[in-house]
């Protein structure tokens, strides 16, 4: 592939995955500006890797992995946020979705769901059901086996099931 094609492919990857990588960073930092910086850094470092002549087979998984490494490098802030706090940070469900949330249960359930899970479980739930990554891709990103990821997902879902009210 010539340099022009490589560049074009990378920018296409940015257009396709920028939001997803931003979201991935947001849910691990709960800081919108920091998430934006980390997203930009993830793409920058990914480009530098590619520009050095190394091949990347799955750019999507690679971007997540770079973002994940960047987040690990940051000092972790284990912060449980209410939806109000998330709202302040820029998380604003749409009016349509807010209606659904209100109908379903209110913010309390979202908070409980996320906060009841441990960090690793929360990561796989978000990656699987918000980022739409496959267990194989999740395993590649986290550097773990697909089997472990599947087991973790299963356990996380089981826990979620216990938290959701019976009448919804």
């Amino acid at each position: 592939m010539n340099p022009v094609e490589i560049e074009a492919q990378f920018i296409a990857a940015y257009d396709a995955y920028a939001d997803a990588i931003f979201r991935y960073c947001f849910y691990r930092t709960y800081n919108r500006e920091r998430a934006k910086d980390l997203m930009q850094e993830a793409f920058t470092r990914s480009w530098e890797y590619i520009a050095s002549g190394k091949e990347v087979k799955n750019i999507r998984a690679f971007l997540y992995r770079v973002a994940n490494n960047l987040i690990i490098d940051e000092s972790r802030k284990k912060k449980m946020l209410s939806l109000d706090e998330l709202h302040e940070q820029g998380f604003e469900p749409s009016y349509e979705e807010r209606g659904r949330l209100e109908l379903l249960a209110d913010a309390k359930h979202a908070k409980e769901l996320l906060s009841a899970l441990d960090e690793k479980q929360r990561d796989v739930i978000l990656m699987r059901y918000v980022d739409d990554l496959t267990p194989k891709e999740i395993a590649e990103i986290l550097g773990e086996s697909e089997n472990i990821v599947s087991v973790r997902l299963h356990r996380a879902l089981k826990k979620v099931k216990t938290l959701i009210p019976e009448n919804v």
């Binding site: 340099p3 560049e7 939001d19 979201r23 997203m39 930009q40 469900p93 949330l101 979202a110 769901l113």
Partner: protein, 403 residues
């Protein structure tokens, strides 16, 4: 459970970047990619290992003939590597002392030499911009830039004068027009970069001031030359006008294609600015055609030339955003306060080298007799503040935009 769970997961997809945020980062990323191109695919840098190599004006596709000549004459590796060198790099003396000199020898006519001088002037300005973007600009570097830039600007201007005194009026008018456009665009880029780089704003603004001074001189020259050309009629004048029309229409088409490409993202405000310029170019072309039909060949030529400038600026607006993530206007209709121009000129003369022999003139005003300009007039209200740093006088210009 699954319905509730799905809805909750769906709501967690809300955090998103705004369109403008996304576009801004994209622009930055594109710029970064140009400065850090893919290595190991025929563009090895043998000696110079810095990663600030620029390809946006030196893409392999565009410069292949240039590289071929250099490879044959000098031996490929060093010549190739030095093309990306910046002031301060080990290979920079080879770039300007060997590469450019060798290529200069191949320019035999006054016209091709004038064109080459304008290209060299653009190279000096692009180097300055690359130095700014890679955070290598400071007062010393700026002073060196100014010296090289002034020498090249003087050489280019003398080339235009040589064409004019050799009765090659059309070529002189074209060369002055091209030089003016290049200076206008680069000044705007430097001023935009100065706004973003607060720590080196003084050095960048000083560089932009140098460009502004030269811009005033060449704009004056261009207006005078066009005034002479506009009075011409006859078969030669008609041929010249028709050739200019063809060239300008080709430029406009090129830019229209650039703006309509589906696989290239151009920010809405950048596209809008470029389209304003293009619209102005199209209006000028139509007016020029009427004059051509009426036999006013000289005047038609002048309008076609202005249309060419407008279209070129439209293209540069898009390129400036892509390469530097800055939004420029490079508006030819901006007016500069005479006092301010004189202040800048005085400051320049006080510290200029002996190569700057020509006293600066005021920036001339456009001859609007035959022009109907639909493009929005942008007036710059300027304040000047003169700061005296040890050893040199500088003038900082702040621009406030009035719609």
């Amino acid at each position: 459970m699954s319905n509730f769970f799905e809805q909750l997961m769906e709501s967690l997809k809300s955090p998103k970047l705004g369109e403008e945020e996304k576009a801004k980062i994209r622009g930055w990323l594109l710029s970064h990619m140009k400065f850090h191109p893919v290595r190991g695919v025929g563009t090895e840098r043998l000696i110079q290992q810095r990663s600030e190599a620029i390809l946006f004006n030196f893409s392999l596709f565009k410069t292949m003939p240039l590289l071929l000549v250099l490879t044959l004459m000098l031996g490929g590796g060093v010549a190739l590597a030095s093309e990306y060198a910046l002031p301060g790099d080990i290979l920079y003396p080879i770039k300007i002392g060997v590469n450019e000199k060798v290529l200069g020898f191949t320019k035999l006519s006054d016209e091709t030499r004038a064109e080459w001088n304008i290209k060299l002037l653009s190279r000096r300005l692009e180097e300055a911009e690359r130095l700014v973007v890679t955070n290598r600009i400071n007062a010393n570097v700026e002073a060196e830039f100014e010296s090289r830039f002034n020498i090249q600007a003087e050489r280019t201007h003398k080339g235009v004068e040589a064409l004019a005194s050799g009765k090659k009026l059309k070529a002189a008018a074209e060369a002055s027009s091209e030089m003016e456009t290049a200076l206008r665009v680069h000044e705007d880029i430097l001023r935009s970069l100065a706004q973003e780089k607060s720590s080196t704003k003084g050095a960048i603004s000083a560089a932009a001031d140098s460009v502004r001074l030269r811009l005033g001189i060449i704009a004056d020259a261009r207006i005078k030359l066009e005034r002479e050309v506009s009075q011409r009629q006859g078969p030669n004048a008609k041929t010249a006008a028709e050739a200019k029309l063809a060239e300008s229409e080709k430029k406009v088409t090129q830019v229209q294609t650039l703006l309509s490409q589906k696989d290239t993202y151009i920010e809405a405000n950048v596209k809008a600015r470029a389209e304003v310029q293009l619209k102005s170019a199209l209006v000028l072309l139509e007016e020029g055609k009427k004059l051509l039909a009426d036999g006013a060949h000289g005047q038609a030529f002048v309008l076609f030339q202005k249309a060419h400038r407008e279209a070129e600026i439209a293209k540069r607006i898009v390129e400036a955003k892509k390469n530097f993530n800055v939004t420029i206007t490079a508006d030819e209709n901006s007016e500069i306060d005479d006092d301010l121009q004189d202040q800048a000129s005085t400051a320049m003369i006080q510290k200029a080298s002996s190569s700057v022999a020509t006293p600066p003139s005021r920036q001339g005003k456009e001859d609007n007799q035959n022009k109907k300009d639909d493009s929005p007039k942008t007036k710059f209200k300027e304040e000047s503040k003169t700061e005296v740093a040890p050893g040199r006088a500088t003038t900082e210009i702040r621009l406030d935009l009035e719609p």
